[in-house]
Symmetry: C2
Subunit: 366 residues, 2 copies
């Protein structure tokens, strides 16, 4: 792998090329994962102004040392009052117009931004981007990112294997989640990507069942959906295991979900549309008579945020590109009875794909 | 205490009175803590429209059962496509103008909202509130909220006491944070109010030092700043303890911070301004020659969110009112050397105040 500087330089070049293509003279970036991806800055307050020739990152006095250590490709300015307003004043002095991200800018922030422009014609200066810019670039991970994400995903798999012998009927879902998160910290996770999902017995039929005080049943499914954060990058995986002997319907449902998941993983390759990948899973479940119980989309991009572009969902025309990392997570939920979901993180490669979460997906009966 | 319905009814009445006072015919509420406070709904997708006579909460199919169980004071509508847009269409059919919260509405959302209005004159319909409405009402907690917050705060104190015998030089800050969070779950916390801060040795001089791989020193301070969530309500407390014998400067600094904290707590009473409470702490530290090392404000409101109104900061003219719950958390940070911060949660009462976090603030040498 190349040194960090080279990756940083390439991200800046890629952004400037996109800006030139879209005739964007100046861009204000305030969404923190975007700021981090581009500049390396991990503080909680930042406004980054990028023009064709320069860039300046505005933050506050808490981050004087940290910003100078972390930031690449931009001048650091410690703002006296409001980082956002000083960034806007700077943009006003360098450009005739400045684009911003309407999905991560509140109406109140936009007022503040205009207030920072002192003197300039305020109405026309700030222009909302027609489509996301930095988050579109962030879809394609470079080798440095893929390496971190693979480590995060592997940590998730290790956790799953460590948890297997601890899963016992009678313990509460919350206790299971608490143990998993405690072990995650011990293995070096900075935190969890999202609130750990433990859904057992009939609760496995809830696609987003948080861990509750419910006790794991003597007989039933346990769905674990969790992820860790490593150097800012999120992992995400789901496995469904079995407590006690299953009846036929339970086993055939599990097998159908596994087949659907595998079909969608197999469909991941450069140039496939996201809709095709979704359909690969959906058609298997439809053929098994379970289509109507698969009530969500097949997956989503993942990276510095747990939910990123692209969406792996019905009719999505966006095409996969090498370097993207997506989840593949079909599920079947039979209300009041049980549910099964199986999820991997999958990287798109030149040749097809690579699964980042190698933990077994086989039927596990505890 | 009165039954839940009475509290719910009172919140609705208070809001409608404020709306009438400010001549607000219709209000769109999308900030989830505001939605929860008013209606009881805890789902992750909601748009609530309130008029003088009616109210409707729009959410999606995932929450059909939950919304009907939880929501009080509003009709529940399960939206087919976009809860936000259907809420706006509804508002358009009921009012000539609709106010919204510009601090919690993105520029992209506002476009969506206008798109939901089909037909109506779109420009003038949505009006940003000049000052926060629901979050202003949320500053004053009712007996049901105070009871929950007291339980959350007590849980925090129990945790601190359980952690004391576990704090040892050589263990990492992260391990300490992981143990604390694991115990919190065991005691019934739904989660942590924010990422647990453990800052030891010279790192105690960082006001927001996250837990790192740094090992607790043989001699030095350890600052623990943490909170738990119980039924949605956040607790927040900080204690600084000592490993090994202290030198004079360390002990006198601790004593000055404790005196400043106590002075600010004593200043908490109805009708005091937030600036006066801040000044009570600041003047003690100034007199001790430490004023310039107290680099942040004295505290903040807390409730369904970890940071709420009011701000306990210099020159804040807002006055305390019985029912408010604020943190009092002065600190002194000597760069490269050490830092001390002590924080309580304090409720404003008719008579003065009540500390919700009774854990000892005395000098503790481990």
């Amino acid at each position: 792998m190349q040194p960090v500087q080279n990756y940083a330089a390439r991200r800046w070049r890629t952004l400037r090329r996109s800006m030139a293509d879209q005739q964007i003279d100046a861009l204000l970036i305030t969404h923190l994962p975007d700021v981090r991806w581009l500049s390396g800055f991990t503080g909680s307050n930042a406004a980054l102004v990028v023009t064709a020739r320069g860039a300046a990152l505005f933050t506050d006095g808490r981050y004087t040392v940290q910003a100078r250590e972390e930031v690449r490709g931009a001048r650091v300015v410690i703002a006296g009052r409001s980082a956002l307003q000083e960034a806007c004043a700077f943009a006003g002095s360098r450009a005739q117009r400045c684009w911003f991200d309407p999905e991560h800018t509140t109406v109140a922030d936009l007022e503040l931004m205009r207030g920072g422009l002192n003197g300039k014609s305020r109405r026309g200066f700030f222009t909302p981007l027609g489509s996301p810019l930095v988050s579109t670039l962030r879809m394609v991970k470079d080798a440095a990112e893929l390496s971190l994400m693979e480590r995060a995903a592997n940590l998730g798999c290790t956790l799953f294997e460590m948890m297997l012998p601890r899963i016992e009927s009678g313990m509460t879902e919350k206790a299971l989640a608490a143990e998993l998160e405690f072990l995650a910290r011990g293995l070096g996770a900075e935190g969890m990507s999202f609130e750990t999902i433990v859904a057992s017995g009939p609760r496995s039929a809830l696609p987003h069942g948080r861990a509750t005080e419910a006790q794991l049943p003597r007989k039933g499914f346990v769905t674990l959906d969790f992820g860790v954060i490593l150097k800012g990058y999120c992992s995400d995986m789901t496995r469904t295991v079995r407590l006690g002997r299953a009846v036929d319907e339970e086993r055939t449902t599990f097998d159908a979900v596994l087949a659907a998941q595998q079909a969608a993983v197999d469909a991941v390759k450069p140039n496939a549309t996201c809709g095709e990948v979704d359909e690969a899973a959906r058609s298997v479940l439809r053929a098994a008579g379970l289509g109507k119980y698969f009530t969500h989309s097949t997956g989503h991009g993942v990276g510095l945020e747990i939910h990123e572009q692209p969406r792996i969902a019905a009719a999505q025309a966006a095409r996969l590109v090498p370097g993207m990392v997506v989840t593949i997570e079909p599920g079947v939920y039979l209300p009041g009875k049980f549910g099964v979901r199986i999820e991997d993180m999958v990287a798109v490669t030149e040749e097809g794909h690579r699964i980042l979460t190698p933990a077994t997906k086989s039927w596990i009966e505890l």
